[in-house]
Symmetry: D2
Subunit: 308 residues, 4 copies
């Protein structure tokens, strides 16, 4: 059984892909070990950064299986099951259970622009069928629905063990913390990595930090500093996170640049390949060189990227 | 070979489902014959009204197979293949080819908010692999991308035979007609049924009219009246279409009410069941009664709903 | 008294300005006569195209006074009174009454993002105080509120004589026509010039056509052709309107290019200066040259731009 | 001369109005003294909370004059000058200078949906003419423009002494702090009161906190606690701020409820009347009673609302 509340640094793991769009199994092995060695508290696969919806069920299932195998119960594995097809959602959920994953993560089905009420009804259909503990996932820029507090409350009554909020709206995240603070087992997790100290110091539980893909220890250290309320350390580590934003995340255009940049960073660190699933394309050669240069500028790089 | 340009009334067929979310095969048989007997010029399955993204691949493939079998080449069958997974898209496309469908319909993969440029790159990857003729599908309210004229032009160069526009933006549709009027084989099809006469009389080719699910002959007659520029007939038939908007489409809330209302109308006409795929739920008993009453108020009902 | 329903071509007159941002009185004189000679059925000043909100009250009042003087009751003058200040709105309204304008045009106050209900309450405060007949003005891209049919109905009960819809949403405009068709004195006017024939042939009353600033006779002829249901003539004139869209309206960037292009067209036709009020800037020299060239390409130019 | 950088708690003062929409001068006197006694570091009049754009120029000027008179140089007075009319903006700016205000605050003119580039050009026209130091004001929900970092940089080159960000987007605010941290005289001020500790502890300078209208000392104490990095005190005071959000700000509907609730709170505290300028309406009797009850529930009320 996974320990509740879910907390700490849970990287939204990118999915390492070969040029032919099959899993980069060697890269996956290195990446998972890189994360576990970095001290992360869990791994979230098949989220937005993991390009979950872009992968075939076969690849999704293989990724879950392989990740669980490599992780080998050292940390919990959380699996994004969101799909526009109810059967597809259940197929992934059941597979996750079978191969030993620890929890599921559910966002709104993302084709129709549904209402809060329709989302609530959907959760009433889905949640009782799930074979593992589950969290909600608020991701309005992709799903077109900013989950109301009321819907989150309904999900909690149906058994949800937490929510990951990637809206970028910190006021909303603070309201979630307030709403659910009476339940010590319900997690509120930030999906915006810059908000990690704010989340922890104000009663939240952790962060699904994309940058933890390449610098897991940086975010783990920042998490610990926030738990310890060590303001000096927070300040110094936060400067590294800001530097990521001003360098690696500034390469390229469009919101997808964060995913592309993260994969290019992992390539620069020789951890895995940087191919994207359609409809995204990896960075150009020039953009990859820039990322490589940026990665080399991080002084604490060696500390943060021990590779197997 | 399908005759080009694609034109006329091509209903975006709803997917008849049983309570257990399997295909309502008896209903599908009645519905397809209802449409063909109504004189439609083609049938579009697995679009938004068809709840394509909500169905499992298995159900999608079964629907294509059965529809093609029942249609039996009397009219072209167009198949929506849009999916967030490239492999999923190809799986549906290849199945459509195998079982005798005539054309494919492609919208942007709908999870990531991609840019026009990223959409163009995606089309360059996908279109050359498609085993059948294909049209574009502009559906910004669901896909988050309003296809630029430039992207449509790029798709045309890659072989697209037309575009169905469901943006509701008639100025854009007129600009599409202008842009492509030099090519007599490229179709511009309205996805907003109220714009059928406008589209036809100004150089467009047809309409993917949701209301043609229940009253196919009404829309076919309106199409013919528009082709004939018979203003009196257009006026009289258009009044029936407006009446649909003010009655059937006004039941319920949220944008999904059009799909739910269309299914309830078909139930009222004893053509098929009205269950929806998750995340949508069918209308309540009271809403269904209202739809039934509205259906009974259409004087030309008998003319338009001959059932097998 | 102005004859009801308001109908025909009512250009949203641009405000001719000198480089020092004072009124270009000589240009105003030419422009008003150009419009009246072009056969327009009314003139709408201080709308969006007229940059009303960008002008000081002094300039707004001078413009109303001068326009009414030059028009000299040949056609009705409608005055945009929308302002974020209630007193400002009343000041313009009362001035319009004093100097002989015929009607007022009211959009939502545009700073706060207000709700439909708040808009309804605002109309209950404002409308009974207005000293002249008034129309509503739906302009969501600038005011952030797409007026609900319910709000329009409430305004009608409070005395509104019509609505001008610039939403670009033809389905909405058709619903307005349906809603109010029982009252022969209530006008539904299109603010999207491409929709002029659609509006007239389906029961609407006219168009506030920006392009009528430079080619008033083109739009008046198109209006008459639509009234006469002369499809051949509609087709031929509509091609000219489309040509405007593909040339003059395509110069420059951003939505403000329509206003800048319209002013540059009037400069090219030697009718008035092309300065804009802040925050807009007139076109560059290169853009103005392009507009000049485009204007010269309209074969029917001489017919449409007789200048005093 | 005002001391730079601008910092601390600068309430966006509501504008006390009588039922006839004239200034509530007695209420204004009490309110200004309430704020100054509460220890605020400045007063910002004619912002969004101050309903600036809804007031006539006469009332705006009277408010500036009276506020400066009552404040009597005890703290700086900042004046919102944003207007859709350039002349109107200058009229307010010049009046502010004349009567002794200390700085001006500039947001985008809010009628046209302008581009970043157009905003930059506007600033180049306006800023050199301003007679007092000025800050930028980012308020996308009202102005439709989320100022780019590039535009803020351009404004700084033209002399801006800071920016107040009310976007609610803390990532953006952090990027502003990063961008301008090399200049110790340039202020980054939060417009979202919940973000006060985050802003101060990460290098920002202050907060324009709406709740400081009724509980100025609460926010001043919180500011000081943040400056002192006194985590215990921050936690305890922040709980009071959260309580405001869960009580006073939850009354009523629509985004305008914050302004209406703030005025109702001041009425409950017998500081001033609660009338709003059109298009807003004050709360109903029941809503006002609820606010009164909530105000009475704040234990530290006496500490925070000493009234003259």
């Amino acid at each position: 059984m996974m320990k509740l509340p879910v907390k700490g640094i849970i990287p939204p793991m990118i999915t390492p892909l070969l040029e032919n769009k099959e899993l980069d199994l060697s890269g996956l092995n290195k990446l998972v070990n890189h994360l576990v060695d970095g001290g992360v508290h869990g791994i979230f696969v098949l989220g937005t950064t993991g390009e979950g919806p872009s992968l075939s069920y076969e690849v999704r299932k293989q990724l879950i299986t392989e990740t669980c195998r490599i992780v080998n119960k050292k940390v919990p594995v959380l699996v994004g099951i969101t799909d526009t097809s109810f059967d597809g959602t259940m197929e992934i959920a059941n597979h996750a259970k079978e191969v030993g994953a620890d929890a599921l993560v559910v966002a709104p089905p993302y084709y129709f622009p549904i209402s809060q009420e329709e989302m609530g009804d959907y959760l009433e259909s889905l949640l009782p069928l799930l074979p593992l503990p589950f969290m909600l996932y608020n991701m309005p820029s992709c799903t077109k629905l900013h989950l109301s507090i009321e819907v989150v409350r309904r999900a909690k009554e149906l058994g949800a063990i937490g929510i990951k909020d990637s809206s970028g709206d910190l006021t909303y995240l603070y309201m979630l913390i307030e709403e659910f603070k009476a339940d010590p087992l319900f997690s509120v997790i930030a999906g915006t990595e810059l908000f990690l100290p704010e989340t922890i110091m104000n009663g939240g539980h952790g962060a699904v930090a994309g940058g933890a893909n390449f610098f897991p220890k940086l975010f783990v250290d920042l998490y610990n500093a926030a738990v310890d309320k060590d303001l000096e350390k927070i300040k110094s580590l936060r400067e590294q996170v800001l530097k990521i934003h001003k360098t690696i995340y500034e390469v390229g255009e469009y919101s997808s640049r964060h995913i592309k940049g993260t994969k290019a960073a992992l390539l620069a660190m020789k951890i895995c390949e940087d191919h994207n699933a359609e409809p995204l394309q990896r960075f150009t050669e020039a953009q990859r060189s820039l990322i490589k240069e940026y990665i080399s500028q991080f002084n604490y790089k060696n500390e943060y990227n021990s590779i197997h």
